[in-house]
């Protein structure tokens, strides 16, 4: 019994050390963003001597922060709403029908998980050009949502399997149509997996790099991940300003993560345990 206790303590210490190791890189943006260039050059690891927000003000002005930020919020919210809505409906009917035709559609969606972005990148670009969707927020919303369909439909369909069908059958006897059934009975039962899809989708959309790199070359429609890329290229001499920008764009999504993190673990767990 004593050895058991001791081994638990050792595991506890090792785990705490690994966790600290993974946390430590975050020290860089948090400290560099407040330092002066001189402080960074002299002692990169020391704490900033003063907490001034000058770096942030400079970064906001030069990087067009308010536009980029609102672009990112708009594209994230609407692409997640679009993909979660269409994928929930699709996953529901695919599981409930469970016949050859609908299963083939699911396989088609899932095949896309293996499709590299580079393979469709150019034709997607020229097709968006034809439809006038290039360099527009609407175009980004459509593309973000489209690339999420494979994963989200798959994730939600596994959960639909676990929802008891008796409730729906009772409602059918009462004469409710498919849509009434879906919105009144099914959607409330799917709430956990819908929340998981929303959180995972929002994390992905907020940080998406490849799609806006190709489809949003105009600065007016840049989102944060791409804007950081160009901004750092321009401001590699002013590390403190660059990191102020990095930190400012990281904080909202970190806050969202801390608030809603239980849905990530719960959602993945639900899928893994019940499948």
């Amino acid at each position: 019994m004593i050895t058991k206790k001791r081994s638990t303590v050792i595991i506890n210490i090792i785990m705490a050390m690994i966790t600290l190791l993974f946390l430590s890189p975050f020290y860089i943006p948090f400290s560099y963003a407040f330092k002066t260039p001189l402080e960074i050059a002299l002692s990169p690891l020391s704490f900033p001597t003063s907490f001034s927000f000058d770096n942030f003000i400079e970064a906001f002005e030069k990087a067009n922060f308010s536009t980029v930020f609102s672009n990112t919020v708009i594209v994230t919210i609407f692409s997640v709403m679009l993909s979660v809505t269409v994928c929930t409906m699709a996953a529901y009917i695919i599981e409930r029908k469970n016949n050859k035709f609908y299963n083939r559609i699911l396989y088609l969606f899932m095949a896309a998980l293996m499709l590299p972005f580079q393979t469709v990148m150019f034709p997607l670009y020229s097709q968006f050009k034809t439809f006038g969707l290039l360099n527009s927020l609407l175009g980004l919303i459509i593309a973000f949502a489209g690339f999420k369909i494979g994963f989200s439909t798959f994730l939600i369909s596994r959960f639909v399997k676990t929802v008891p069908i008796e409730l729906e059958e009772a409602a059918i006897i009462d004469g409710a149509g498919r849509y009434t059934l879906f919105f009144r009975i099914v959607v409330p039962l799917l709430k956990p997996i819908i929340m998981t899809s929303v959180v995972m989708g929002a994390l992905g959309a907020w940080n998406e790099f490849m799609i806006p790199l190709v489809l949003a070359t105009n600065q007016k429609v840049h989102t944060l991940a791409v804007s950081q890329y160009y901004f750092i290229g321009q401001y590699s001499m002013q590390v403190n300003v660059a990191f102020a920008y990095i930190l400012a764009s990281m904080i909202p999504i970190l806050a969202l993560y801390f608030l809603l993190q239980k849905y990530i673990v719960d959602g993945v767990t639900a899928g893994a345990v019940k499948s």
Binding site: T8, I11, N12, A16, I18, T19, F22, P25, I28, P29, P44, L45, T85, V86, A90, Y92, I94, F109, A112, M114, P116, Q118, T119, V120, M121, F122, P123, L124, Q127, I142, A143, G146, F147, I149, G150, G177, R178, Y179, L203, W206, N207, F209, M210, L224, A225, Q228, Y229, I232, V239, F243, I246, M250, Y257, F258, Q261, I264, V268, T269, G271, V273
Partner: protein, 283 residues
Amino acid sequence: MKKIKDELIDFTFVLPALLLFVFVLVAPFLQGVGVAFTNWDGFSPTYDFVGLKNLRVLLTDSQLLLPIKNTLLFTGVTVVCVNVLGLAVAIGLNQKIKGAALMRTIMFMPIVTSITMASIIWKYIYSDVFPLALGFSSPLASKEWVMLGISAICIWRDVGFAMVIYYAALKGIPEELIEASTIDGANAWQRFWHITFPLISPAVTTNIVYWICWGLQVYAYVATATGGGPAGSSETVAMYVYNYTFPFQKAGYGQMAGLVMMFCIYIISTTVTRILRKREEML
């Protein structure tokens, strides 16, 4: 009549997803197959059909060897490290230890940062902290070490994600099984290999295949950390495709390279899946 109407109503549930999917993925994919056999630069109104010329040039391009080597190295290192560390951390956190919930929250934090952010943070850790604390210079500046330096960024960012999936799989193992084997006198190592590992092997298979697919497509980590440098030494296959398609304005050739890349990823991932599934049955 009513039955047909019901079927049509049911079909409207899948229709929006299907339309979006066709518009963003299927239609571009099919158009891309056509473009791959042309010499189109990507913007001129005219271009010629060149048959298999692009494929011939691609397969004999010695410039492609280093990107292939880099892509395979990155994939191999990240697949092994992300999965071994992810599983180890998941097992560690699944013991009854203090602060497990907080540790889980922190371990997942890196994936919340964008790849751009992760690369920039690590660029400065490598250039400012490494020489000071460990006494060696940034791996990103060395031709030999650059791919491992980039792989480490991906490992830092992805371990938490692998950990969540393994943690979920571990939670699915009935506790009675573990207890029974403990009473039978199995030690921790035996319990892991004979009970835990076989039961979580579907998650292992899924994870390995996921990270192989992502690794073989790596672009963003390299673009943001080194831009392919120093002197092209960290170029990957995806970067080769991107460079030919956009900056070099050889869309037809780039598209062919993209198709071949997809074909290779498909072959590798289905082969690995088949081998791992067979192993699962033997466990």
